[in-house]
């Protein structure tokens, strides 16, 4: 009897929280949960659950997409800005990020039925899907987006910093981090840099439940080393010295986008 009552109370609280969440439109939110997949057509959509509310993170996409989906068998750290829109059965998180947490967790395995929801049809996925376009019809997935033109670096050259950001608790270099590293190297070559300083950091992230998610200590170092290896792979610009260091103390959590930005490696280029 008491048990039943508590769970009723819990449901009531959940309902309230749902209300607060939509009331807190524009607020940054971060939480750790299993990812949830909804089996929509033509591609599935990804959700996360926090305090009894579902949040929409984004669709399955390709590697040019802004959003990289999470992984079953792993919890995720979901982050984004709550909106008052709903999609695919969840509150839409703007600028959503899902960091795949390293530990294996077999309980993260939930696939929901489509329940009448569907995903956008114009998304370009990895590989074809859906139907082949009829003669004259445009192919459903949009063609790959052209690359933006490269910035030309010209004199005068001043010291400049390039920032590679990372997902939580990992040194995995995704596309944006690679981009930052490539730009740093292009700048260093153009500026005939004498010194490149690579500094790795780790972050604490303020979660919606008030706790801090603190990245593991080794990750500041391993991020710096991954960037170092990447620079050496491409070839250190002639005449440049490479210094690699890291800051083991985590950044102070803020409960804003700044928490994600603090998971970084700064590449400082000195002409």
């Amino acid at each position: 009897m008491t048990k039943l009552k508590t769970s009723l109370v819990a449901t009531a609280i959940v309902a309230l929280c749902g209300a607060t969440a939509s009331a807190q439109t524009g607020k940054h939110i971060a939480f750790v949960s299993c990812p949830i997949l909804r089996n929509t057509e033509p591609v599935p959509c990804w959700l996360g659950e926090h305090a009894g509310e579902l949040y929409y993170l984004g669709p399955q996409g390709d590697l040019q997409a802004e959003f990289y989906p999470p992984q079953f068998n792993h919890k995720m750290l979901a982050e984004g800005i709550a909106t008052n829109e709903r999609y695919c059965g969840g509150i839409v998180l703007k600028q959503a990020k899902a960091s795949v947490l390293p530990d294996f967790d077999a309980t993260c395995n939930v696939m929901l039925p489509a329940m009448g929801y569907s995903e956008r049809k114009d998304l370009r996925g990895p590989g074809p899907s859906g139907h082949r376009p009829a003669p004259g019809e445009k192919a459903a997935p949009e063609p790959p987006r052209p690359r933006p033109p490269q910035v030309q670096y010209t004199a005068p050259f001043t010291p400049k910093e390039f920032v590679a950001t990372f997902d939580a608790d990992t040194d995995r270099m995704w596309r944006s981090a690679q981009g930052a590293m490539n730009e740093a190297l292009r700048y260093a070559r153009a500026a005939k840099a004498k010194q490149i300083t690579v500094t790795g950091y780790r972050a604490a992230i303020k979660l919606a439940d008030g706790k801090d998610f603190v990245e593991r200590e080794s990750v500041a170092m391993s991020r710096a080393k991954v960037i170092e290896e990447a620079i050496r792979t491409q070839g250190l610009p002639e005449g440049a010295k490479l210094e690699v260091k890291w800051v083991t103390r985590p950044s102070a959590s803020t409960g804003t986008e700044r928490d994600a930005a603090a998971r970084k490696v700064v590449i400082a280029v000195a002409p």
Partner: protein, 542 residues
């Protein structure tokens, strides 16, 4: 057969000097590149000297009812014939076609066709024109019967389950005779490009060793030159412009640095060999001659050039099908036959504009009662199943870990996405489950293979199997030392499949039906019987 006596003797008077020369060459160019991690220096990969050393220890060559299902044409090493500009060879489904784009090949004195090593084998021994430049298990069985087990393909070094076994007996060659598997021995721990030992992320234990080779005092993990033995199929040596093309500094799959062509310094695409251990066909040829052929010294530059030139102009694909008829008749599908391979352009085919194998519209509408047109329509449907029929791809490292999510709802062509070969346009090693437990166990044939227990060190893990992994072939991880690579096998091209069963790197799918059934189980694709048959028919015309 040459005399066994001199070949059995320890050959290192000359060999040691030339291997030393190898390591000197390595040291000389080492400072030009900061090479920690796998790869090659000069034209020699990090593992080659150790492998050559083991190859030199193995004796060189000396029945139950082993009946080939089909008798293929056989090309003897050193027979000196001319390989025509265009050639076709029968296989159980029809004919495989070859095109030498540079004209007929005079094989007399040619380094791909002559036994340049000490065991009577040539490259052509295991890369047979009639077998789509690979080697079918039927050909292996046929050779066993024809030569009483004395054909050089059965050489103890890798044509036996282990070189220490009595070589006359079929049981000693059971993996080759049953599944077309050669022993691939790689040094453990893995070697960096400069030949120094790597510190892998996991430890390796032998759980079961049916061939005895991993625990053997001379060839095994505890020997003075420790090696792991896994068992793999030869791969197609043709259509190389698709297989080897371009390269970028980083592996799009995991952000790790890519290998370079040690001679040009350019990044390579890392898509040859089950474990991508050889960065270029040239380092591969250096290695193949020292291991498979038990060569005593490195091939000369002229010989290497001859091999690479030959490989680069050779195109192979099925050209005739018993049920589909002529695959290359004018007005037919654009992606079939060796000439289409020659004419085509490498690139991504995972889109409706340039589909992997082109469209098969010409064949789409069957004429009722005409078996050929009905079969062709099945092929056309099979292409659509391959290309557009979605299922959930799950728990595959280097596919579900690359930023696309786990699982992803996609098709065969998501992984097999490269134009005209069906390889992966990016580095193609993935843990599909053919080598690792639990999925490998659904393939009955893998039970004859060794089983390893790999334990990842603190903080390291296989993304979907955790820290302790049981594997029949750890694949790329034996080269990279990374937990995330355990069980990852590079996919190979789909051309000439009809001429070279069985399939998968470990030969675990005896025919295309077993292969399709594996996928159906692995990804719960729930294919209908018609979809399965259409897929099989489609694969059989490539």
């Amino acid at each position: 057969m040459r005399s066994d006596a001199h070949r059995r003797s320890w050959p290192f008077a000359a060999g040691a000097a030339s291997l030393m020369a190898l390591s000197l060459a390595v040291a000389a160019s080492a400072q030009s590149q900061a090479e920690k991690g796998p790869g090659a220096i000069g034209d020699v990969s990090g593992q080659t000297p150790a492998q050559a050393n083991q190859a030199q220890r193995a004796p060189t060559p000396a029945s139950p009812n082993i009946t080939p299902g089909f008798t293929y044409d056989w090309w003897e090493p050193g027979d000196g014939q001319t390989l025509g500009a265009e050639a076709a060879y029968p296989n159980p489904h029809g004919q495989v076609g070859l095109l030498n784009a540079s004209g007929p090949i005079n094989t007399k004195g040619h380094a791909f066709f002559e036994p340049t090593g000490t065991n009577g084998r040539a490259c052509v021994s295991c890369h047979q024109p009639s077998n789509g430049m690979s080697l079918s298990v039927d050909s292996v069985r046929d050779r066993w019967r024809a030569t009483g087990g004395k054909d050089p393909i059965f050489a103890a070094v890798d044509g036996a389950n282990c070189p220490n076994l009595p070589q006359g007996s079929a049981a000693s060659h059971s993996l080759l005779l049953n599944h077309g598997l050669f022993r691939v021995f790689v040094p453990w721990p893995p070697k960096n490009a400069d030949g120094t030992a790597m510190n892998p992320e996991f430890t390796l234990e032998v759980v079961s060793d049916p061939t005895g080779c991993n625990l053997d005092a001379t060839y095994g993990l505890k020997s003075s030159n420790p090696h792991v033995s896994v068992y793999r199929r030869p791969r197609v040596v043709a259509n190389m412009k698709y297989v080897v093309n371009g390269g970028s500094p980083f592996n799009i799959k995991d952000g790790s640095p890519m290998d370079r062509d040690p001679e040009t310094g350019r990044f390579v695409n890392m898509n040859i060999m089950a474990d991508a251990r050889e960065p270029t066909p040239k380092t591969q040829a250096v290695n193949a001659h020292l291991t498979h052929l038990q060569g005593k010294a490195k091939l000369s530059d002229a010989q290497l050039k001859q091999i690479i030139d030959f490989e680069n102009q050779l195109y192979v694909a099925q050209s005739l099908h018993q049920k589909a008829g002529n695959l290359v008749e004018p007005g037919g599908p654009s992606g079939l036959g060796p000439k289409a391979m020659h004419a085509g352009t490498p690139g991504l085919g995972d889109n409706f504009e340039t589909p992997v194998f082109g469209y098969f519209d010409q064949w789409a509408k069957p004429k009722a009662g005409d078996p050929q047109s009905e079969f062709r329509a099945s092929v056309a449907r099979g292409m659509e199943v391959y290309f557009t029929r979605p299922f959930y791809i799950r728990d595959v490292t280097h596919l579900n870990t690359v930023g696309l999510g786990n699982p992803i709802k996609r098709t065969c062509a998501t992984c097999h996405n490269a134009r005209l070969t069906g390889m992966d346009f990016a580095p193609g090693w993935m843990d599909l489950g053919t080598g690792n437990q639990p999925w490998a166990d659904t393939l009955e044939a893998t039970k004859e293979l060794p089983l390893f227990k790999l334990t990842c060190k603190a903080g390291k893990a296989h993304p979907f199997l955790g820290r302790v992994i049981y594997s029949r072939d750890p694949g790329r991880a034996l080269i990279s030392g990374r937990c995330s690579d355990i069980g990852a096998i590079t996919m190979q091209q789909f051309r000439g499949l009809a001429a070279r069963a069985p399939y998968f790197s470990n030969g675990s799918a005896k025919d295309l039906k077993e292969l399709v059934d594996f996928y159906d189980k692995r990804f719960e694709a729930k294919y209908t019987d018609l979809e399965k048959q259409d897929l099989i028919n489609f694969l059989s015309v490539l």
